[in-house]
């Protein structure tokens, strides 16, 4: 870094700046992402365009390289932190500028588990894709999910677990939703490193998602399918 000539972000063209922001996100450079975000906004970019083209696209590459074993947990965490800083600037502006809304997701790590890096990443990418995300944090008993569903009426419920001892709790939540007769009102997505597709279907989730990119894709597809079903019903 020391012998590299210092790049002045404000002197870059829009295209160069966006590519530079992808690099900066990859390198987890929080201040640079904040600065790049401000510059694009000052140049008249709508917040939604900054979010999708500069931040989400950059983070997509980070996710891919993590999946392929090129990046590791600390790098992902640094990148997520940088993206978070950019989103912090954009969030209040997004609502005000009528950014497209895809739906609402309630997400949380299940009871007994306090791993949250993956869950946070999924929440962030879902927000980047235009979903409103209600993050319940960690160690959530079924009551927390029920209360949030009641309050926010989400289309999607997301549950995360990283421990083989806590993943069965997802079934407890889904079974409770069935008992209350609200299971079919929701799209239930589950994820976390020890899960797999087989587990997802065994507990009655709509889908298991391997990573944040798959989560966004799946959420979009299932929400669309649901809307279409409702339209034809």
């Amino acid at each position: 870094m020391a012998d590299e000539e210092d790049i002045v972000l404000s002197e870059l063209s829009d295209d160069e700046l966006v590519l530079q922001m992808h690099d900066d996100l990859y390198d987890g450079l929080k201040e640079e992402i904040e600065e790049g975000t401000e510059i694009l906004l000052a140049r008249g970019w709508v917040p939604y365009k900054v979010l999708t083209e500069a931040l989400v696209e950059g983070m997509r590459v980070v996710g891919e390289d993590f999946r392929d074993g090129i990046l590791f947990v600390p790098e992902v965490l640094l990148s997520a932190n940088a993206m978070k800083a950019g989103m912090f600037i954009l969030r209040p502006l997004l609502a005000a500028t009528g950014a497209p809304k895809q739906g609402t997701m309630v997400i949380g790590t299940v009871k007994g588990d306090i791993h949250d890096i993956g869950k946070n990443l999924v929440g962030m990418m879902m927000e980047g894709a235009g979903f409103e995300v209600i993050d319940l944090g960690i160690n959530n008993p079924v009551e927390d999910y029920l209360a949030a569903i009641e309050e926010h009426k989400p289309e999607i419920l997301g549950m995360s677990a990283l421990l083989t001892t806590t993943m069965p709790y997802m079934k407890v939540v889904i079974d409770t939703l069935k008992e209350k007769g609200i299971r079919d009102d929701l799209i239930v997505l589950v994820g976390g490193a020890p899960l797999n597709e087989e587990f997802g279907s065994a507990i009655g989730a709509d889908a298991y998602c391997r990573d944040a990119a798959v989560a966004v894709e799946t959420a979009r597809e299932l929400v669309n399918r649901k809307h279409n079903q409702m339209a034809t019903a």
């Binding site: 590791f72 588990d113 306090i114 020890p194």
Partner: protein, 206 residues
């Protein structure tokens, strides 16, 4: 009767047995098989525990190697370790057993006691003798905390205490565990567990 004969009960098997263990259990398993010359130990790198998806394959290869070396009896000293059933599948295919439990913290504690713990323990980060000794190489460095100390609270912000599960009492390790707690800014607690279920599992093989 000579004392020599009394030392070896007739039911004790002397068929060669190889334990394939997580490197994090090396010292403990070695001390448990000290007087059992027919049991030998092969360890796989402990750092695999940060990428558990690689464990089943590594164990599979080690079992095949044991059989290739002419050793029929094999035991796997790994817990599930986040492999969620895939390690069990490998063991099943080879007709080999593994130590019960989700991870080493649980079997040191005693699997039954681990399940029955307080709610309080959810916000706990555990150390074992191995992790106390190797805190730098197995926690600080893989989490990038040496280069980016600012990440500490993103990892550990929700944790309340560090509980050191003691296998062998050793003041030097106590000190290391306490330093680890200080580094993570967590309350420190020490619980002597000994070898827990590991001990009965290995002794049961003799």
């Amino acid at each position: 009767m000579t004392t020599n004969m009394e030392q070896r009960p007739p039911e004790q098997s002397t068929e060669k047995l190889r334990i394939i263990a997580c490197g994090a259990l090396a010292r403990e398993v070695l001390s448990l098989i000290e007087n059992l010359p027919h049991i030998e130990l092969t360890c796989l790198p402990a750092i695999l525990h940060n990428s558990p998806e690689k464990i089943p394959d590594a164990v599979d290869k080690a079992i095949i190697k044991a059989r290739h070396d002419g050793i029929e009896r094999v035991y796997v000293a790994y817990a599930d370790c986040g492999t969620s059933g895939t390690l069990d599948k490998v063991c099943e295919e080879h007709g080999v057993e593994r130590i019960a439990g989700p991870h080493c913290f649980s079997f040191y504690f005693g699997n039954d006691d681990f399940i029955a713990r307080d709610e309080d323990d959810i916000y706990t980060f555990f150390l074992t003798d191995f992790l106390a000794r190797q805190f730098r190489a197995f926690v600080i460095e893989p989490l990038g905390l040496d280069k980016h100390p600012e990440l500490r609270d993103m990892y550990f912000g929700s944790y309340k205490k560090l509980v050191y599960l003691v296998q062998n009492e050793d003041p030097a390790l106590d000190q290391m565990a306490e330093e680890a707690a200080r580094f993570l800014d967590l309350e420190y607690e020490r619980r002597v567990t000994g070898y827990g279920d590991l001990s009965s599992a290995i002794k049961g093989l003799a």
